[in-house]
Symmetry: C2
Subunit: 474 residues, 2 copies
């Protein structure tokens, strides 16, 4: 048994035990590691590198849409945190509190931010005085702490990395427009960077964010047929403005309350990438988010091969993120390792290849091998990554649409749920939503802007009011 | 009195009360704001934007020198923190501790990281097994918490942003090389981005980092003649490797302890930029670190002027960070505001300028005004920013060298210290260092690799052993 065989076999098959496959992959692909702080993970270079590429993409989009980055304190005085009552009741049980230092007890407990609405609210109340100061469109990259009981790498942890945008506007209309704009930015992130087709829509009142008037979400369907909420965008109206006294003089010199939004995505997106694209050999990274896009493996390298590898590396590095694996491991071991880590393209080159002026290029997502002339390589890589991105997106889209069902009866609903996937059903509202959750474990993902499927709610028999996308969810 | 006059007058003069000038500038330039969490500041867009440009510069340098970014937990179990005794005794009094959540007390207290040596140490002990795994060269961007009693914006706070590099190597030689390499990266950051001439050197044993064998630092001289330690690079030998059991099989299959380094710079650098370059009208930003490099102010704008402004913005935005201030404030108010915020170049354009096909460009660092033809503008801006960077660096260098003194007697030392600046003196060692600190408040900044100035130590009369750079310091 070769060493690389052994590496591959150490992962549970995806269709045997999806949950175990996920954990195995997170560890073996070296995306993360467990830490000595229970419930907290270490983001290893591959996991953090994916996050950095998401950050770069979003920072660019945020800038184009007029946002600025800021940084707020990590700790929030307990009294400040309690100012907005819906908000505090949503988060209070999960808060971690600093009560003492190395030398003295604090006079007031400080909460490690689970989210920063109250900090932004307080700051805005101080700096927003006039219509001239509006809008303020800030974003923050940071880590937050929520004391979750059960944790899973990237999906649910006591600490996670995220961005939280917080904006303040002169009118409700402008704030609503911002809420939708940022939802669209997230949707585009899926299309252009993650190769993940999101379903976007409004959350039901039951599922919305603590303190928000409206919550919108991006949802994605994982390989096991469960949904993952992957990002949210909230409209607050002027509820927080009342709680935090955010007022401004309009151009008629009248005092008005301002309107707010907040929106965020987190390292959960790494979990989405894994569970949408991964396979039994490990991670499969969409090419534009991959920290390493091309790995070059020299085969039985002599001096000429090593010099050719160096030249290829230089040529490709102008546009692509390239890694040369010149370690003393066997080629087979290297192949398995880079497959496990999801590197989109592998280039092999040995003495024979060099004589023929060619290399062998292997695609991670479909294992296709191509013999490519050295002179065509740069263009082949560029086109190859593009084709690969599109193919991965299409495959994920197909896996989503083929598992999106329409239920016209509750029995049908339950049958579809067993297969896994999204189920559309027209319900009466919260009463049905609660019953469905209790009886099946499925939750309302988003309200769809689609016609009713049935006149009455299949669950309660009452008049159907809206069509909802249901699924079991992470 | 015009509005802009009022804005400028609200800042204390730099040479009247430097400390008040600093605080005024931090607030009025909108670099930061105080928060409701005592001792914690808010990094506003301008302050955070400077930090982002420092991050971009360093990330690029870190990548070129083979480093990878990771992210470690924010909280450290108290028992883990206590594993390395020198380290813990250095930090214990300043630690903030989480003892409870919203629903239950924790079984073990968790410390918010004041620095992450113990987390990296534990992770390295797990992932480093063989010489093939070495070196590991990781860096982390994060915020840390140290419970300081007195705080000042950017210089000393209960929370600050920083990067902390932590590396592990097979040999002492390689680790020492890394320690020096990163000190050079920081020195280059000063030269190329911040326009700050650093003095680099080794710290005395008294001033070195808790747990390190050797600490090197970059030091800068502020306008008031005090020094600011602006970054450090530490060599740990294998002390931490013993404490955290970081061992590897070398290529002879023998088990060895590994060697480590750590190094960091923080948002303190923002304080250095302010205190080296600022003047009585506010912040003066070195052009390459400035979030906005060029501000365009339309004067009595008609349609043609606004269209010309748009065109100039587009042309300059290919290479420079440009902001158009088309608010309804008066031009004079805008001039003061952007001077306060330290924008390197201001471009004014009105109907008369447009007729003549020209604009007026004003440099922030020396207030020089130039009339520039529109056709030459792009090149003028490019050359102007370059010239400005060099002039600011030279000015800061001159301010440093002209205030660097050599003391051959203790009286001379005390007289120089009154003037403010760096003072070189050859001392016997720690005994003199302690006496100087007690009697004058000056501390040893770095050990200089220079010949002795006197045979005997002017403080103790004992044999002089090394030449040290002293200063009062932040």
């Amino acid at each position: 048994m070769s060493k690389n065989k052994k590496l591959v076999e150490s992962i549970t098959s995806r269709d045997v035990d999806f949950s175990q496959w996920y954990t195995d992959l997170c560890l073996k692909a070296e995306l993360m590691d467990y830490s000595n702080t229970q419930g907290f993970i270490i983001y290893r270079p591959l996991g953090y590198g994916i996050w950095e590429n998401i950050q770069n993409y979003l920072n660019n989009e945020f800038r184009k849409t007029g946002h600025q980055n800021v940084y707020m304190p990590m700790l929030i005085p307990e009294s400040l945190f309690q100012k907005e009552k819906d908000h505090v009741s949503g988060f209070a049980p999960e808060t971690a509190m600093v009560t003492t230092t190395g030398v003295e007890n604090l006079s007031e407990r400080l909460i490690i931010r689970p989210t920063s609405e109250v900090l932004f609210g307080t700051h805005y109340s101080k700096i927003v005085k006039s219509y001239r100061d509006l809008p303020k469109m800030y974003n923050q990259w940071c880590s937050v702490v929520r004391w979750e009981k059960t944790t899973r790498p990237f999906l649910r942890g006591k600490e996670f990395l995220w961005q939280e945008g917080h904006t303040v506007h002169a009118t409700a209309e402008e704030a609503k427009k911002e809420t939708h704009q940022m939802l669209e930015v997230y949707d585009k992130l899926g299309k252009e960077l993650l190769a993940i087709p999101f379903v976007t829509g409004r959350k039901t009142d039951k599922e919305k964010f603590a303190g928000a008037l409206e919550t919108y979400a991006i949802e994605a369907l994982m390989h096991d047929g469960q949904a993952l909420q992957s990002g949210t965008s909230h409209y607050f109206g002027n509820e927080f403005a009342h709680a935090f006294d955010i007022k401004f003089l309009n151009d008629k010199n009248e005092l008005e309350y301002a309107y707010q939004t907040s929106w965020g995505v987190s390292t959960r997106l790494i979990g989405a990438i894994i569970m949408v694209h991964g396979d039994d050999n490990g991670l499969v990274l969409p090419p534009y988010v991959a920290p390493t896009q091309v790995v070059i493996v020299p085969i039985r390298p002599n001096e000429e091969v090593l010099s050719a590898v160096k030249q290829i590396e230089n040529e490709l590095s102008d546009k692509f993120r390239v890694f040369v694996d010149d370690s003393d491991k066997s080629p087979g071991w290297k192949f398995s390792e880079h497959e496990m880590k999801g590197v989109p393209l592998r280039i092999e080159i040995g003495p024979r290849d060099l004589e023929n002026g060619q290399v062998v290029v292997t695609f991670r997502h479909n294992y296709e091998k191509h013999t490519v002339a050295l002179t065509d390589l740069h263009k082949f890589v560029e086109d190859g990554l593009k084709t690969m991105h599109e193919a991965m997106y299409q495959k994920a889209l197909e896996a989503t649409t083929s598992r999106t069902y329409e239920a016209k009866s509750y029995d049908e609903f339950k049958a579809f749920l067993k297969q896994g996937g999204y189920i559309k059903m027209s319900t009466c509202g919260e009463e049905a939503e609660i019953q469905i959750k209790e009886e099946t474990g499925a939750t309302a993902r988003v309200i769809l802007d689609e016609p009713l499927l049935t006149e009455n709610c299949p669950v309660t028999g009452k008049k159907a009011t809206q069509t909802i996308l249901f699924a079991r969810a992470y």
